[in-house]
């Protein structure tokens, strides 16, 4: 004999109308209803309204220019690894973008990362992976060479179930910390004239840190990559300052315009002051 939980609902429906009505209401309240989503939207917006003055003071932020675009899944599948793509339309501002700030409103540390792009780096697309703690807008704010701010946003629903924005394999993450991998992808066909791409992967737990738990006595101090610099030859492609909203094993994929045949060099620094650096020859295919 198996327990059939439907029986329970049947019982409630036939014998206890009040209870049944409550049950339906409770179950709807427990799921991602449109009402729940709207409340979450409002909460995210409210946080942002307070936050934007802290980050950008009283500067105007345009939201209608189409200069920047952000894409993420509508629902975070794994709260610890939410892929996000930011596109910059160079045709909209030939002077280029000098900085890009990535924000997750509801996270404990909402400013996920700030990228500064080198002159003529040619970056028009950058993707990374974020931790997303709850229903939130993800925002990309681009700063043009002449100091204008342009924003795009997308709303991400929290992942359901037991997926948490935490490190999956703590002891392994400590062991492999600092390993780096670079992949180079050729630009696609001369017709589309797409730039070559790089994918930079850094092994690091990027831990948010924990308060000491009074019961378990476990304490994990915050420990994350806070600076990354990527150059080709003598020229910087970008530098990044980041925090704990970047997923463990920080991962950046971006296009760029190579200049000469100089190697790709990467330096990353974590909050313990550890410096990780590596370099790779420019692959022919990457040219």
């Amino acid at each position: 004999m198996k327990t059939v939980w439907h029986d329970r609902r049947h019982l409630a429906a036939t014998g206890m109308k009040a209870a049944a009505a409550f049950l339906v209401a409770a179950s709807l309240g427990g799921m991602a209803t449109p009402a729940h989503s709207q409340a979450a939207n409002a909460r995210s917006e409210k946080i942002w309204n307070g936050l934007k003055t802290d980050v950008f003071e009283d500067r105007a932020i345009r939201t209608d220019s189409g200069l920047v675009r952000i894409e993420a899944p509508k629902r975070a599948q794994d709260a610890a690894i939410v892929p996000v793509d930011i596109f910059i339309d160079p045709a909209r501002f030939p002077g280029g973008v000098k900085a890009l700030t990535l924000i997750v409103d509801v996270n404990p540390s909402p400013v996920a990362a700030t990228f500064q792009f080198g002159e003529n780096s040619g970056v028009t697309h950058l993707s990374t992976r974020l931790r997303v703690d709850d229903y939130s807008y993800l925002r990309a704010i681009a700063e043009t060479a002449d100091g204008e701010l342009h924003m795009a946003e997308t709303f991400v629903k929290a992942s359901g179930g037991c997926s948490a924005p935490a490190v999956k394999n703590q002891s392994e993450a400590e062991k492999t910390m600092g390993q780096m991998k670079l992949r180079q992808f050729a630009g696609e066909g001369s017709a589309s004239a797409r730039n070559p791409e790089l994918q930079l992967m850094i092994r690091h737990p990027n831990n948010s840190g924990l308060q000491k738990d009074p019961i378990t006595q476990y304490f994990i101090p915050p420990h994350f990559i806070h600076k990354v610099s990527v150059s080709q030859g003598d020229r910087q492609i970008f530098s990044m300052e980041g925090g704990i909203s970047i997923s463990e094993d920080p991962n950046f994929r971006f296009d760029y315009v190579p200049d000469g045949k100089g190697e790709i060099r990467v330096e990353a620094i974590d909050t313990d002051g550890k410096v990780f650096s590596d370099q790779w020859p420019l692959e022919a295919a990457g040219l």
Binding site: S27, C162, Y218
Partner: protein, 325 residues
């Protein structure tokens, strides 16, 4: 007690009432605790082997209707004491579980074994702590819970509702398993084994040599799509080791219990090999994560319940792991 000795040939079915377990000795429709009233159904433990009783969870995600009762739970009864395997996904469920246990035996519940960190397995811990059980878990379980406690408590308020979260505490184990540990229940010793990262980084199994019954926790899924919150390579890599356990039957964390062993490993092995194969190809081709996870393992879709709920998430975690190969 004589009824402890009823053999597996005569299935021993016992029903506990959730509202009694919760101490609410009131009419079911009393109104002021509607969540408990709604729980006025049955919680059934089936005796699957001598002194081993199992509750079969629903193949669903946790919600207000199922009251968090989605994973399999069990008990092993020794001459002196009882070991409980996982505490359930809410206090309502845990109290129903306790009431059902008390309908079978009055021996003390000496141990609550947590097979891993997920809420459907541990949200009932407080009820068993209060019943005097020592909580047992993998050495990695306390830090894993500490890293997730606040998130679990908040996100499940949204998912299953405030009512059902009442009384839920994240309670870490006090007795930790480094590698292996025997628990003596009086004339019956059960063997605990801590595994390397697989389903999570804190998976623990319990084996009862007397009846050759393996409680695999979420290292084994049947019907319900396996969920990955640890290491795909670690899980695949330990399946052969799991298979060497000389069990006659397995109680998986989710899906039909008991099931034959080690055949029960095959469906999930096939799924993970398919997932890994599809993702390795995508990674080799340079397909980004966000695109690769959509198509991965879709050929296995018809073979599992909850595929759409969990496959993309599994693929996301697996992609991030496999691209370091």
């Amino acid at each position: 007690m004589a009824r402890d000795r009823i053999g597996p040939s005569r299935r021993h079915l016992l029903q506990g009432f959730a509202c009694l377990g919760a101490g609410a000795a009131l009419p079911l429709c009393c109104g002021h605790r509607p969540a408990l009233a709604a729980a006025g159904g049955t919680f059934t433990l089936s005796e699957i082997a001598d002194g081993i009783h199992v509750f079969s969870g629903a193949n669903e995600t946790m919600n207000a209707h199922n009251q968090g009762a989605i994973c399999n739970l069990g008990i092993v009864i020794g001459r002196e004491a009882v070991a409980v395997i996982d505490s359930g996904g809410s206090i309502v469920e845990a109290n129903a579980f306790l009431a059902a246990i008390r309908g079978i035996t009055d021996r003390p519940i000496r141990y609550l074994v947590n097979t891993h960190m997920h809420p459907d397995h541990i949200f009932g811990n407080a009820a068993f702590r209060d019943a005097g059980a020592a909580i047992v878990g993998h050495r990695n379980l306390p830090p894993a819970l500490a890293a997730r406690a606040q998130f679990y408590l908040r996100s499940y308020r949204d998912q299953i509702g405030v009512q059902l979260m009442e009384g839920v505490e994240i309670i870490p184990p006090t007795l930790l398993v480094d590698d292996r540990l025997e628990l003596d229940l009086g004339g019956r010793a059960v063997e605990l084994r801590a595994w390397r990262p697989a389903h999570t980084d804190n998976d623990l199994t319990l084996f009862d040599p007397m009846t050759k019954t393996l409680f695999a926790g979420d290292l084994v899924f049947l019907e319900h799509l396996p969920t990955l919150d640890g290491s795909l390579l670690g899980w695949l890599g330990q399946m052969d080791e799991l298979a060497t356990i000389e069990a006659a039957r397995v109680v998986p964390g989710h899906g039909t219990a008991p099931a034959s062993w080690p055949q029960a490993l095959e469906p999930q092995r096939h799924y993970f090999e398919t997932l890994a194969g599809d993702l390795r190809k995508a990674i080799k081709d340079g397909t980004p994560l966000s695109e690769a996870v959509v198509g991965a393992a879709q050929s296995a879709r018809g073979q599992w319940r909850l595929f759409d709920e969990y496959n993309e998430r599994n693929a996301t975690a697996a992609y991030a792991e496999l691209e370091w190969e």
